[in-house]
Symmetry: C2
Subunit: 490 residues, 2 copies
């Protein structure tokens, strides 16, 4: 990937990066912004896919492979959805969207390999930092030994949650024996009813914030249990080595989408936000700002909250529409601080911190494979992110760097070369990350409408996955399923 | 109002009714569907109001009275939003949307009077029916004596809730001393923690279902307490005489909007769904399917869930957008059965029933003022409504009539002349009733964005009210406030 001068707009960043990646890759790659006005050719296809994130592109790839015609309409000037590479100069990149893969995520790992991409381990050597009650400790092992009673309680809670999670059927969480009870309460209510130590509660809440970018009070207990089961265990969700944060992708996770898009070529149309889908006798019309496509089937591969903002003719059934009113996106800033070197490594630190205060309470070493430059990644999540949305950017930057200084020392300020962050809630075509989650009552009364096709319209996106829901792996599973649905019908 | 033959479409029903009402009313009334294409005149105004429900029309009225120019853009072919008259023949109507007013609702009562409308008492003589555990009892008084322990517990819960509700500041519920605790749990969690008898729990749940058309598990305890406080007390919400169901409007509640629209005349534009609002230097452009208007200020007077489906340029701030992802609409069928006479009155019954089972668990005598024809009104609410959304209309009709037979005897079937029902979740420009409610966590982190203007855009609608939130009275209050905001800025 080439070094870019500071680009003027996000669309431009993306387009240039995309084209840069294409130029650096195999020949025969072409991506058009939109076909010439009035050009009918290519606008009558078997399937239109709405959204060129991993789910939509994967579905399109399966459809193309089956010999069917497909067009992918993407609202933005780039592909990748919630994955986004950001150039650091000298050919390095850092991701400001989803980035990690874990060893149990078979589908995304297979896709990465098929696309000729490689993974490398998230930096995980040395000690972790824990900051609680104003005291900084470094430690090894999974749970910080700051407060043994709290930590033991958190461990016990994790075991209990894993056991409950296994009772939630992945394809129909609402049929769990205790679904009604579990979907009638928030996760905070479960914490308050099952944990006694303030420290243990805070630790578990931190885990939930880190996984969902939402607060324990925002989430249905049943939804959290489903999510845990879909990932195998809560450890899988929160662990670095062996868990969901195990590995990264050389060149950045957006390459997954960029490479799929490259192979799809002119089938992918950028800057084509879909505004309306009209069912006709025998086909559907998909109306975008870049023109209208005609298809026998449509796959909408965007989160439910965004799918609800498309106009449908006929209108969506009541429960499908009400579902889209009920799965809000989380709230997160992903914050990147760049240093000449990963100085914390020399201090014997892994770059991973957990904290009970400050703007950023979870950090990682996010340096490129060679460790140059050094990159600290900090998340601002849930309520804290909602607070920082109301504050000026400069104040937020200072608060994040203050957090990093608390965890890793003064060099986090004095050696800082570059800082940037991204709020996904500010992105029109995402409106929050990591995922659309379910408050209480939603899975019970609306869960069955997450994947049920409505006429010619099918649904993909990681929110519809039964395995690794919320992750890139779930996006692949959802694309695979939606493609199989439409191929069976064509 | 004239008797209509069965019209072909909802828009047509509405248009004809509207025009009928106009013809019957004062002279000088004119309503246009949309101005001629290209006509610039009248499209450059001080204020555009989006939505011709009570909130929007009231705001427009205040703005017009202040000598400012205003246009009201309404998506449908009728005014009235969640109020809707339905002709019964011979000049009678019944409402299939919001209909009641109560004696504490000063604003709507004043408006009704100003518009030359009259109210009459909801029929409330004779005994009530309670159906629980398969047993039907008739009784007088507020709470059925079916199960004394359960009833006493429900009474005590109501007292406690009222007392808690008074601690919730109406203009800032998130500042209540126990806001964090109350917004971290569902109302169901409160029931489970504070009530012991299954009967008492069911009775309270029935009250919540009847008020919100949602389940106790769907709602934040803090939101329920705010809502109670905004109405004065839980009794005010659930009572007929003296409460929110005290009185009705002669000619139907939609007349409130129809008369306001008549006086606004050509300022009200029907069939003009707003798709985009673009802020420019010094003004905003409001783009609808009927053309583009230009205004110095805009008032969006639709529920948050629908406001989130408008495209904004610049896009909405993150938290305002995320709020609109987090206030879903309730789920209700309003079911109307028409009989030659209100036969239950002759049996000494008020026509009001409560039940722990069946499709419709809350009923009212909804006959016109003279008692001819006889009209039974039944609601299907919350989970039950979500179930019936998945069933054929004929089966639903049978289930509702079965409920009425259980409560009022075989005549409810044998004397039935006409039956119709309405699911507000199936209405594209409402997508649920009665109201947009808050699940846990929403008021705490997003409540302050309900009314805060975004640039030139202000917010109205009963969901933004601090008094009688969710009611027609709250709609008036919200229109009054929004009009004052923009008038202060013009």
């Amino acid at each position: 990937m080439r070094e870019d001068a500071e680009p003027r707009s996000r669309a431009e960043i993306s387009r240039r990066r995309l084209l840069g990646a294409a130029a650096a890759g195999a020949a025969g790659y072409a991506l058009r912004s939109a076909p010439a006005a009035g050009a009918a050719s290519g606008r009558d296809v078997d399937v239109v896919v709405v959204g060129a994130g991993i789910a939509g592109l994967y579905a399109a790839r399966e459809i193309a492979r089956a010999g069917r015609s497909v067009a992918v309409l993407e609202a933005r000037g780039r592909v990748g959805g919630r994955t986004l590479n950001h150039p650091l100069g000298r050919g390095h990149i850092v991701e400001i969207g989803g980035q990690w893969v874990g060893p149990q995520q078979k589908r995304i790992l297979k896709l990465i390999s098929e696309l000729g991409l490689e993974t490398f381990k998230t930096y995980n050597r040395g000690k972790y930092v824990d900051y609680r009650n104003g005291i900084r400790l470094t430690y090894s092992g999974r749970i910080p030994p700051t407060d043994p009673a709290a930590d033991a309680e958190a461990e016990a809670a994790i075991v209990e949650l894993d056991s409950m999670a296994r009772q939630v059927p992945l394809d129909a969480p609402w049929t769990a024996e205790r679904a009604r009870k579990w979907d009638s309460q928030t996760f905070q209510t479960w914490i308050d009813g099952h944990m006694a130590t303030p420290g243990g509660k805070k630790l578990l809440a931190l885990g939930i914030q880190a996984v969902f970018a939402a607060e324990p009070r925002d989430l249905s207990l049943l939804f959290v249990l489903f999510y845990i089961h879909s990932a195998g265990s809560l450890e899988n969700l929160i662990n670095t080595a062996g868990g969901a944060q195990d590995s990264r992708i050389v060149g950045g996770s957006q390459l997954i989408s960029i490479r799929m898009a490259r192979r799809l070529g002119r089938r992918v149309v950028l800057e084509a936000p879909v505004e309306e889908i009209v069912e006709r006798r025998g086909h559907a019309e998909v109306r975008s700002r870049a023109g209208t496509w005609r298809a026998r089937r449509v796959i909408v591969a965007v989160p439910p909250a965004l799918a609800g903002r498309i106009r449908y003719r006929p209108i969506m059934p009541a429960l499908r529409d009400q579902l889209t009113q009920r799965m809000p996106m989380g709230t997160v800033f992903k914050c990147i601080a760049v240093y000449p070197t990963p100085f914390w490594r020399a201090d014997g630190l892994a770059g991973q911190a957990t904290s009970d205060s400050g703007a950023s309470r979870v950090t990682f070493d996010n340096s490129p494979p060679g460790g140059k430059p050094g990159v600290l990644l900090g998340f601002i999540e849930g309520e804290e992110a909602r607070y920082w949305e109301t504050q000026p950017a400069a104040k937020r930057r200072k608060a994040v760097i203050d957090s990093f200084v608390t965890y890793f020392g003064e060099k986090a300020r004095t050696e800082l070369r570059n800082y940037f962050d991204k709020s996904w809630a500010e992105e029109e075509y995402t409106r929050g990350c990591y995922v659309g989650y379910a408050p209480p009552g939603v899975l019970l009364d609306y869960g069955r409408h997450l994947r049920a096709p409505a006429g010619r319209i099918h649904w993909a996106g990681t929110e519809t996955a039964t395995v690794w829901n919320g992750y890139m792996d779930g996006a692949v599973q959802s694309g695979e399923r939606a493609a199989a649905e439409v191929l069976a019908d064509l």
